[in-house]
Symmetry: C2
DNA sequence: AAAATATGCTAAAGCCTTTTAGCATATTTG
DNA sequence: CAAATATGCTAAAAGGCTTTAGCATATTTT
């Protein structure tokens, strides 16, 4: 009833009447280096192929210290931004023989600390991290330990680590300028309460644009640790409290979603009653009526660079090679939601 | 410059002047069973806590054969359906001390075969699988090997494995009935070409509803291995070729998306020119104008049941305990996109 | 022709745990 | 009081691989 026993390197060696070491060396491409004759190397390879021997990865890892697993930490794998980046990273990692083990933090610092510990226990070879705040010392320690590591989307302030981020300041600045150029004066920003670096820079872009035009800021900070319905409600209240508001910028895709829902409920039509721009593109924004103007992040490039940095660190032995800090430029995709209607249209709708 | 050496079980034993075995047994909760005195057990636990010793998971895994890692295979982690299920599974797995390693298949059978092999090499403790066709023998072998395994979303025909699926036939039947009840006669179905089981049953539900009303089927099968723009184009052609079509059912969320884009381009307004229902709910459908009627899958329950089945198999020793085949009932969420406009409204728009 | 070097391979240590068999000593039983 | 059983713990094997030091033999150098 038992299936045939798993074949071991020992069996290969025995059958070919060579040593285990020889088989191992050949299998790891160190035959030349270790002066195993070509003919023997080939004999080994052939037999291994023939019987379909696959080394036990656990044993390999235990001995070599390499697991060929990358730890991916995102805020929420169900968020299209992270899901898409994860998908792209996954593909490129796989192409290079690495597997992904992932966890969602849900912005919970304590839980994230556990996740990092678990990843360490599991001896992941490298880290791809989009972390909540409060893990500065942990990540610093990781960096110091020399483990390949890339932060993305956001960084931790004061932690000198490789990072691939998007220039949210410029992105938001351009978005705001686009609104200002059309004569909008009362432009709101809806952002989150946590001080993640990417949110701060996005807000700065908005602030600078308004400052240049001597216009006052109008900002709502949303506490995310509440039910979706409450968040929508909070936004409704905000809009109601600012009936003069003509345009609104959302700093993330999910805020944009909640915002659209809030505007729906209020019956504020877009863009007639209010213009809308969100950070971070996705299918919904593209297909919404009207299509939503967005600051699109270059996801593909992002994933590519993340993996590139990581692979370099994984291969290159140089420990203190200096950090890579890559700032990618987002792209304002102007769609209908931010185009000021003609006066006649507005009048019609009054 | 070097950080302090990682602490080993050996160090613990030495410091406490007990054997390694004792420490191991205590740490694995087998103190009682192996008659380690309570006082010693506590001494061990205290010291371990004090110095923060964490066993090397690789060594544990190698020795015990358990990795506490689950392999998750989905069609595309960037698809909101899979991303959401992944998120829910992840949470519950973590609660039970399991980590997730995942891969997207992209409907590529050959690549998926590799993925399964890799998972096996990595000695995952269990599998959660939404597979493309063509892996019947591989999965059968896995099942026979006794590895805990749950298929979800779809099954492989003829493979007797645990499975958690959604009753797409009933879901689509009800959706079609809803349209028929409103007097729609020419109802199209847009589905994919591949013969995945879940797609087949969804189509059957549609077919049965039409049959009961003696209405002809109107089906378009989309080949997914093309560019998005082409898919949209194909749907446009389909609609143009069937101008009498009054309503359309999409069998997946992404088909629904493409379909909405196609209808947009054609200028066919929903639901005035054509009623729309899609399988599988998500934020876009909820927020779209008009909101799209969907056959919503019970994602939370799904994830819960998947993990429940898996954990039972992981704990329970019984190898041939019989298979679990769970069929969950989806829910028709009627929104505006499938509500037949009054005659006057229609006339207005003519 | 002896010494040095190159060639081709292997023995065995090491990675860090878990787990089994079993050794003393103490207690109970007949 | 000897034999049986219980108690509390440990030595050592096992898990499957990588890697280092080094052993013969063959070839080249002085």
């Amino acid at each position: 009833m038992e299936l045939k026993k798993r074949i071991l390197i020992h069996d290969i060696a025995k059958h070919l009447d060579v040593s285990i070491a020889t088989v191992s060396l050949v299998l790891n491409g160190r035959a030349k280096e270790k002066r195993i004759s070509d003919v023997l190397a080939e004999r080994v390879l052939n037999y291994v192929n023939e019987v379909g021997y696959k080394p036990n990865q656990l044993a390999k890892s235990l001995r070599s210290g390499k697991t060929h697993v990358l730890g991916l930490v995102v805020e929420d794998i169900a968020n299209p931004f992270f899901a898409t980046v994860a998908r792209l990273i996954e593909r490129k990692a796989l192409e290079n023989g690495y597997h992904i083990i992932y966890c969602s933090t849900n912005r919970d610092t304590a839980m994230t600390k556990d996740i990092l510990t678990m990843f360490e226990e599991r001896h992941v070879d490298g880290y791809v991290l989009a972390l909540p705040e409060g893990l500065e010392s942990e990540v610093s320690a990781l960096v110091r330990s020399g483990k390949p590591l890339v932060m993305f989307d956001r960084v931790l302030s004061g932690v000198p680590a490789n990072a691939v981020v998007v220039d949210g300041a410029t992105g938001m600045y351009e978005a705001a300028q686009h609104l200002l150029a059309q004569g909008y004066k009362s432009i709101a920003l809806i952002t989150i309460m946590h001080g993640q670096t990417q949110m701060i820079t996005r807000r700065q872009g908005y602030a600078q644009a308004l400052r240049e035009h001597n216009l006052p800021e109008l900002v709502s900070e949303i506490e995310l640790d509440q039910e979706p319905a409450q968040i929508v409600g909070q936004m409704e209240s905000f809009f109601q409290a600012h009936p003069h508001c003509e345009a609104v910028l959302f700093t993330t895709n999910y805020l944009g979603l909640y915002g659209l829902e809030a505007l729906n409920r209020l019956g504020w039509s877009v863009p007639n009653r209010i213009a809308v721009i969100s950070f971070d593109d996705n299918a919904l924004f593209r297909l919404y009526s009207p299509p939503i103007t967005v600051v699109a992040q270059p996801l593909e490039v992002m994933a590519e660079e993340i993996i590139k940095v990581l692979l370099t660190a994984l291969k290159g032995a140089k420990p203190t090679n200096g950090m890579v800090l890559l700032q990618l430029t987002p792209k304002l995709l102007i769609r209908q939601s931010s185009i000021r209607p003609s006066e006649s249209t507005r009048a019609n709708l009054k």
